[in-house]
Structures are given as C-alpha cells and as structure tokens.
Amino acid sequence: MPQRNVPLRKHKDEKERATRDGFGDALLSLGESDPRVIVLCADLAESTRTLAFKEKYPDRYIEVGVAEQNLAALASGFAAMGKVPFVASYAAFSPGRNYEQIRTTIALNRQKVIIAGMHAGISVGPDGATHQMLEDLGLMCMLPNMTVINPADALEARKATLAAAMHDGPVYLRFSRETSPNVTTERTPFVLGKANLLLDAAKPDVAIVATGTLVSQALIAAKALANDFAVTVLNVHTLKPLDIPGILKQAERAGAVVTVEEHQLRGGFGSAVAQCLGTFAPMPLELVGVSDRFGQSGTPSELLTEYGLSAAYIAAAARKAYHRKRDA
C-alpha cells in the first residue's frame, strides 16, 4: 500500500476555509432574508460558527446549554409553531446523543428542523475518537423523511445551508472543522439531490464518486493517475436522496467505480453506492472509508494516512478497480 500522503494544495489567491465557515456565512444571510430562521445551540457558538448570528440576531438565538436531547426536541416544538430552526452541535453529540429525539420528534413527526453536525469525520484530529464522528451519515440516511447533505467545501456548504432552509422537511447537514481546498466555485450549481461532475474524461476508465471534504483528495488522486488511465470525479453532496441516475451514468461510462468518504464503510456512502450498483449495474467497485475502527488523536494528515483516506489510497483503490475491470 502507498505510504505517502499527497499534501493538499491551495489554489493561488484563495483563502482556505472550513465547511463550517460556509454554514456561518449562510446563517447570516438567512437571518436577514427569513425572519422565521432561528438558531439553537448547545454551548458551542464559536466552534459551530453560530456566534455571528447570535451577535446580530440575539433574539433569534436560543442557548440550550450542554443538553443535546433538549436541543433536538425543542427545535421540533419551534418548528411546530412555524419557525425554521437550525440546531448546531458536534455530530458526535447531535445526532450522536439525541438520535431518538431526532427520529421521533423530527423525522417521524415531519418537522422542518435543520440539524447541523459539526466537527464530523476523523479530521477533527487531536480531539480523538470520542469527537471523531464517523457514523452520522448512516444514522441520518436511515431515517425516513430525512434529507442528508455533506458539502465538499465552504462555498458548497453555504449553498447547501441555503438550500436546506428552502427545503420542505428535516435536513441533516454535515460539516468539518478543518479547512479544505475549494473544489467548487461561486458559480457551481447546487441542486439538492443532484451530483456534480467535477472532472470529466472523454473515455473514462474509472469513476471516483466522492462526498464531503475528501472530494479534494479525490481530485488530487485523479491528477496523480492522469498518465495511467482516464478518471472522472463526481461530487455527491446529497447523500439522501441519492442521485442514482447521476451515479449510474458515470459508473456505466467508466465500468469501474471508487467511492470516497470520511465515514464508516458499513452503512455509509460507499454502502449506498454499492447497493445502487449491485441492484442496477454490477461492476468492479472499491470503497475508500473507515473500516470498522474508531479514530484516535493525531493531525488530520496523519489520520487520513493511518485510516487509508488520503489521495494516495484513493489512487491505489482506483488502480485496483481499473485492473479488476481489465482482468475480468
């Protein structure tokens, strides 16, 4: 297996930001445009990027304290009265601790609550396994009525947050603490449930379908593979509803697929793609994600390598998929 981690490269003149920063930006514009929008936070205003909203709209910011079960069920009550509540905490606690409240009072009860799960994934780094939420996407995708979005960069996070506010129904938004390179631009369209092709090829050999901030690693991997075979990269920002036609189209063009996620493989994005391909178009498939392990303290870069999530591993998975297809 490759050991070297390809460093993330910054585009010149571009300030790298975290997806949570895009969330904070969107909340401020929503505060201005929609008086129904309120924010409930469980003692994490600064790190969930809700502080600016709190300062600008103090009457619409509700402090809940360290009480995530109350956080979720309160939001359901606000939504029942016509408010559009955003609840902000770390993904490890919300939905980690309050899953039943989300299931019963928000999803089954069909209340439009937007759950923002911060510090998701292993890239939280030094905080260690307790705070590295790797099961949230699976938990939320399993809930009927729930829409699940995992933006790839700060720009997309902003658009995803605005889209969630417009959506008729509960939404889970996943955000990262670490900054990540922009893989989209201001002009990249964001349509809920519609994946974006970020890198195309005339005759693709392997399709990399990726979600979240690892999309940038997928693009680095694609670049590293450029001399070997042709790769496409699809950014799947909405996990539910999953863009099955969009994924199938790229899969069938290439004939081999690699999935990429910063999440447990069991029950995550790769599982969903495998279900889709297994049902409609069986073909060589390699899954990049966390394989039934908890995380640990370390730098994001160290952890991406240790858990096999970095560009080098994505490239290796693409080579494996390519050879499996060729040898079949």
């Binding site: 069920a73 009550g77 009072t105 089954l108």
Partner: protein, 285 residues
C-alpha cells in the same frame, strides 16, 4: 374563569363516557394500556370541555392552545376525549391500533389532526412544549401551551434538561401536568426509581408547583387558573390520580399498566362505570 357546578357535572358526565370508550376501544384493539388512560380521564375531560381554547372543527387553528401529550402510551384517553369533543366520529375509536387507522398505538401528528406531536418514547414532550411556548412568546401569541407527562417518565434525563430550560427562560405560558399515579411498568415509582421529593425538585428548577386531586374537576380547573395568573415562572401541576380510576379491579394495580381487558372483564367494568352515572368519587373529598 372559575367553573360552575353545572359545568363540573357536565365534565364529570363526559369523563364517564370517556372511560367507557377507553374500555371499549382497548377490548377491540386487543392490546394497549388501561390504567393510565382511565386515571387521566377527569383531567382530559376538564381540559377539552372547559380549559382549552380550541375548535374541534378547526384543529389547525393558529391561536389554539397547544396540548402536548408526552407520555404517548396513554393516548387512548386523548382519542376518546377528542372523539367526544367532536374532532372525529366516536365510532372511529374502535379502529385503535388497527391497520390503516389514524389512531396509531402511539400518537402521530401527521396522521390525525389535533394531536400536536408524535410521542411514545418518554421524556421529550416537555422540550417540545418549551419550543412551542418560547416561539409563542417571540411572536406575542397569547395561546397557552400545556404538557401532560407521566410520573414514571420523570426518570428520563431529557425531562430535566427541559425543566431547566423552561425555568431559566421563565416560560410562564407553559403549564405542565404530571400524572402522579405512582405506577410504572416494573412496579411502584418509588421502588423502581424514587421521584420524591418531586415537588421540591421542580421548585429548585424555578417552577411554581401545585398539587391537586386529579379526580376533582373543580380543583383541576382552579389549579390551571392559578397557573395562568402567575407570570414570573412556569407552573407544574402534580395531579394525584388513581391508576385505573373508575374500575375497582384496575385501581392501584400496576399490572394493569400495559394490558387491555378481555371481553368478559370489559363487560363487568363497563357495568361498574355506567352505574356511577358519571360520578367518580375523589379520594381527597
């Protein structure tokens, strides 16, 4: 808005009809909870036939009072009360827990208008009621929010997260009612997980606390009037009830928490309920 003797008589008559309906629907369903619904029939009758500002013909009316039932398992008493109040035909009660029914085993807002929320898993109703009360205050809406809870449910941590929030925010437009019937599935509340002193627990969380006889209509109405008059803090009414009230074989027996009567038992119980002619004697009278 004190309650007149004639109103009390009417409410008691409705409570007797509600109790009979509960027995009938549980027999038809073949499963469900018996003791809790019977014990809360007087409180529900007092609310739907006197206290609540509501309109059965317009269940989504914006300015209605909100009644959140946190302990969803006693929903047969709410269904029976709503049917007798005119929300839907009384005969629909016999569809309880059946396939295709709007009357799910535990209440679902999206299936039956007027339920306000979906509940069953215990401990989250007070949070939802708090969200409603806070939102109403933000928008200067005058409606009131009521949250019915069980006593066994007070074991849940979520309740105390909500109690702390409601106390801290002085949500005086919210009134909680705890069905203090002293039973839960595994036995008496004080042996499963002691709640006492319940009164001083809520006081410590910033609530005004009232104890009432949950079978005394006048006392229930007076307590709610007092809660409405208090602006500086929320109120919790601890309603002391007898589980299974009205049917002597069920009263005080925790084994009736989670099972329905058989058809033979129901015939005996209904005869007893009807012989009372609406008059259920309060223990504290």
């Amino acid at each position: 808005m004190s309650v007149t003797d004639a109103q009390v008589l009417r409410i008691e008559t409705m409570a007797a009809k509600i109790r009979a309906s509960i027995i009938e629907m549980l027999v038809a369903a073949g499963s469900g909870h018996t003791a809790g619904p019977l014990g809360m029939a007087d409180v529900f009758a007092a609310f739907y036939f006197h206290i609540l500002n509501h309109n059965p013909k317009k269940p989504e009316w914006k300015d209605r009072d909100r009644l959140v039932l946190s302990n969803g398992h006693i929903v047969p008493v709410r269904y029976a009360t709503m049917a007798h109040a005119g929300y839907f035909p009384v005969k629909e009660l016999l569809t309880l827990r059946k396939f295709g029914s709007r009357l799910q085993g535990h209440p679902e807002r999206t299936r039956l208008p007027g339920l306000e929320t979906t509940s069953g898993p215990l401990g989250s109703g007070l949070s939802q009621a708090a969200g409603m009360a806070y939102a109403a205050r933000m928008d200067n809406q005058k409606m009131r929010v009521y949250c019915f809870m069980s006593d066994g449910e007070q074991d849940a941590g979520n309740i105390w997260e909500a109690a702390m929030f409601v106390g801290a925010n002085r949500l005086s437009n919210l009134t909680a009612i705890i069905d203090r019937n002293n039973i839960q599935i595994n036995g008496m509340t004080e042996s499963v997980m002691p709640l006492e002193p319940l009164r001083s627990k809520y006081q410590a969380f910033g609530w005004h606390v009232l104890d009432v006889d949950g079978h005394n209509i006048e006392a229930i109405c007076d307590a709610v009037d007092e809660a409405k008059a208090i602006y500086e803090k929320p109120t919790v009414i601890i309603a002391h009830t007898i589980p299974g009230k009205g049917v002597s074989e069920i009263e005080f027996d925790y084994r009736w928490h989670g099972k329905p009567p058989s058809a033979q038992e129901a015939a005996v119980f209904l005869r007893e309920l009807r012989s009372l002619r609406g008059k259920v004697r309060g223990e504290h009278e």
